[in-house]
């Protein structure tokens, strides 16, 4: 508020000063103008005086010239006289033209001119006298008398005019001087005011500056103090925060430091070890104080270090956020171990990389076990193959003699029918029957071995379609049988088509076989939810089997019925199981004696 008043005062003062200056200026301007006017009038008056002067001197010259001629008779003097007269007249004309506004002077002039004319006339008379030769001492007397008569009034008139002009001159030049003085004075005052105005502006400006400077330095001081306070506060808050953080981290620190099975450590963004834990010490052999600050590449094998693996893994981790690897690492004592390593890039909320987290597990034991298992696997596989090759060649070679037995038995029957009694024929038939059975067994064995050996292909197959075609075949073998096949359509699965066909053939053929004694055969094929998963099933209303013996169901050559009841070699279900197992599935059965059987399988 005060400042505003102050400012208003200053503004008012300036406006006032400006107004004063304006007034002064106009007054000065007027004074100047007036001075110029008086000055020119003064000059004017001097011109008149000079003209009067010219007249006077011209008259005197004329006078002299006339007298001179009178005495000398020199003609040149006449010319001089004429010129002087002319001059005098011009001067008077000039005076008249200079003083039109002065009635006094005009009156004076009116008195003077005739007198001047008279004077010149007298002089011309003188000249005439000479011309006439009248130069006696009395010749001039009349002229002189006349001259005496006019010269005082002439002089008077002349003097009056001169005095008048002088009087005017005095007035005018005085007034001009006054005006000049006035103007100068005003200008001086104006100058002083203007200068003092500028000075006061300057002073005010300086004052304002110093005020502002004062205010600014105060402000700066206040700022500095404030900043100090803020810094202090911030430091306090940070301390408090660190405390809180420490407390909340306590459980984690406890956890990390105690875990012994995994090396849990942190690296700084350059890959130097920042933290260590008990697990790291156990696995890698270094104590915390000897490893913190070291670069983590020393855990790698020399070959890996040469190939730049540590740096590259850090780069990948930083890029993708995580990196997992298994490889050889080196302990403190130089021994190697197989490690599973997971590295994670640690970023704070601004997204800046703060370091890396590393979890290492010593997999040496596991690796040893894995290698042993792999070796065992290879061993088993080669053993398997050998066994199967053996199986194949044996069963193949067994067929030939069978053919012989059967063939020659038949030959006997045919060629020596006459020499054989019924018993003999019967024996031979039994021999042949036995041979057939053995042939069937060998075939089944061969099939079984082939199932295991062939390469499996998985493709989308329609089980329902396969089941239907097998059902049709079965019907074709005994067209007179009443049989009902209930097959759920559209059951699809990913499996080897040939092998699955073998499975369905065996299962459906079994069902067909074991329902052969029923009046109405009913065989179902479909899908059901059992044990929480869905499984396929083949169900029949046939003879079933005793569930107590179900563990022998899938054994090769195991039978739960006698061959006289139902023919068969006992290899069918073993084959089925082999196929299902190769698909990674499961097979089981439910049944009760005379209550039919249901075989379930998953693939």
């Amino acid at each position: 508020m005060l400042r505003s008043l102050h400012q208003r005062l200053i503004a008012g003062g300036f406006i006032l000063a400006a107004a004063v200056l304006a007034v002064l200026f106009s007054i000065a301007y007027r004074s100047n103008t007036r001075f110029v006017e008086w000055n020119s009038l003064t000059v004017h008056t001097r011109d008149v005086l000079r003209a009067l002067d010219d007249f006077t001197s011209a008259m005197k010259s004329a006078q002299i010239a006339a007298v001179d001629y009178y005495t000398s008779g020199s003609e040149t003097q006449v010319q001089v006289f004429t010129a002087a007269e002319s001059r005098a007249h011009s001067a008077l004309v000039h005076v008249r033209s200079l003083t039109p506004d002065n009635p006094t002077q005009q009156r004076n002039l009116d008195a003077l001119v005739p007198l001047a004319d008279k004077g010149f006339d007298l002089l011309r008379e003188v000249i005439e006298l000479r011309r006439q030769g009248k130069t006696g001492p009395d010749a001039m007397k009349p002229v002189n008398a006349e001259a005496k008569k006019i010269s005082p009034p002439l002089a008077e008139a002349l003097g009056a005019m001169t005095n008048e002009e002088n009087r005017l001159l005095e007035i005018r030049s005085g007034a001009a001087a006054v005006a000049a003085r006035r103007a100068v004075r005003l200008q001086l005052i104006g100058g002083i005011i203007a200068t003092s105005l500028v000075l006061s502006v300057f002073v005010l400006f300086l004052r304002e500056n110093s005020i502002r400077a004062g205010a600014e330095s105060q402000l700066e001081e206040a700022n500095t103090r404030l900043e100090q306070r803020v810094d202090e506060r911030t430091a306090q808050l940070e301390d408090a925060l660190a405390q809180v953080r420490k407390q909340s981290e306590e459980p984690f620190r406890l956890f990390v430091s105690n875990v012994k099975d995994y090396a849990l450590l942190m690296l700084d963004p350059d890959g130097r070890v920042a933290t260590w834990n008990a697990g790291a010490e156990r696995i890698k052999g270094y104590r915390a104080e000897e490893i913190i600050g070291q670069h983590f590449s020393r855990f790698y094998t020399p070959e890996d270090i040469e190939r730049g693996k540590p740096t590259r893994e850090l780069e990948i981790t930083a890029e993708q956020g995580r990196f997992e690897d298994e490889g050889w690492r080196v302990r403190k004592d130089g021994s190697r171990f197989w490690a599973n390593v997971v590295m994670t890039a640690l970023r704070d909320q601004t997204g800046q990389l703060r370091g890396f987290g590393k979890v290492t597990r010593d997999m040496t034991d596991r690796k040893a076990i894995e290698e042993k298992m792999a070796a065992q696997n290879t061993q088993l596989e080669s053993t398997n193959r050998e066994l199967e090759a053996f199986c194949y060649s044996v069963s193949h070679d067994l067929r030939a003699p069978l053919r012989g037995i059967d063939g020659f038995s038949q030959a006997l029957l045919e060629d020596y029918a006459g020499q054989l009694d019924n018993k003999g024929k019967e024996y031979l038939q039994r021999v042949r029957a036995a041979v057939q059975r053995m042939g069937a067994l060998i075939d089944d064995l061969l099939d079984l071995s082939r199932i295991t050996r062939t390469e499996m292909r998985r493709e989308a197959i329609d089980l329902s379609q396969i089941a239907q075609s097998i059902a049709d075949e079965l019907r074709g073998t005994q067209p007179d049988r009443t049989a009902e096949f209930v097959i759920t359509p559209g059951l699809q699965v990913q499996a080897d088509p040939r092998l699955i066909r073998v499975v369905l053939e065996n299962l459906l053929r079994n069902s067909w076989k074991f329902t052969s004694k029923r009046e109405n055969t009913r065989i179902e094929f479909g899908r059901t939810a059992a044990n929480g998963h869905s499984a396929f099933f083949v169900k029949d209303n046939g003879a079933g089997f005793d569930p107590n013996y179900s563990s022998r169901l899938f054994g090769a050559f195991q039978r739960l019925h006698s061959a006289s009841e139902f023919p068969g070699t006992g290899v069918g279900l073993a084959t089925v199981q082999r196929v299902i197992l190769r698909h990674g599935g499961k097979i089981w059965a439910e049944s009760d004696v005379d209550r039919g059987a249901t075989f379930f399988f998953e693939l």
């Binding site: 030939a400 053919r403 012989g404 063939g407």
Partner: protein, 148 residues
Amino acid sequence: MASTILLVEDNADDEDLTLRALKKNNITNEVVVVRDGAEALDYLFGTGNYHGRDTGILPQVVLLDLKLPKIDGLEVLKRLRSDKRTKLLPVVILTSSNEEQDLLRGYDLGANSYVRKPVDFAQFTEAVRNLGLYWLLLNERPPALGRT
């Protein structure tokens, strides 16, 4: 001159049974029996024991077993097919094996037919009958194999 059948069979039982089956089916063509792959080649090319045989005369059909001593059946077949004289000679592989591998190789090497020897003699007889009927009566011989 009747056409001959070349039976390449090492098993004496199988040999007898085959001949018996042929007889039962009234197939009376001369049957030449050789016991191993080497002998089969000797016969067909007129070498070794069969030196001097007229190799222009070739059998109507060769019944070839696969499991043979010395030179096995597939090798014999291979050599037959690589010789101009026997390239077109009809060869029926008659064997116990129904291994897919043997089938594939047999056909691959140029066998005309592949028949599995069943254990059951009745079936065997039937098989032989069919073979005889087909190869000896129905099938047309390839040309330029010599005079019949």
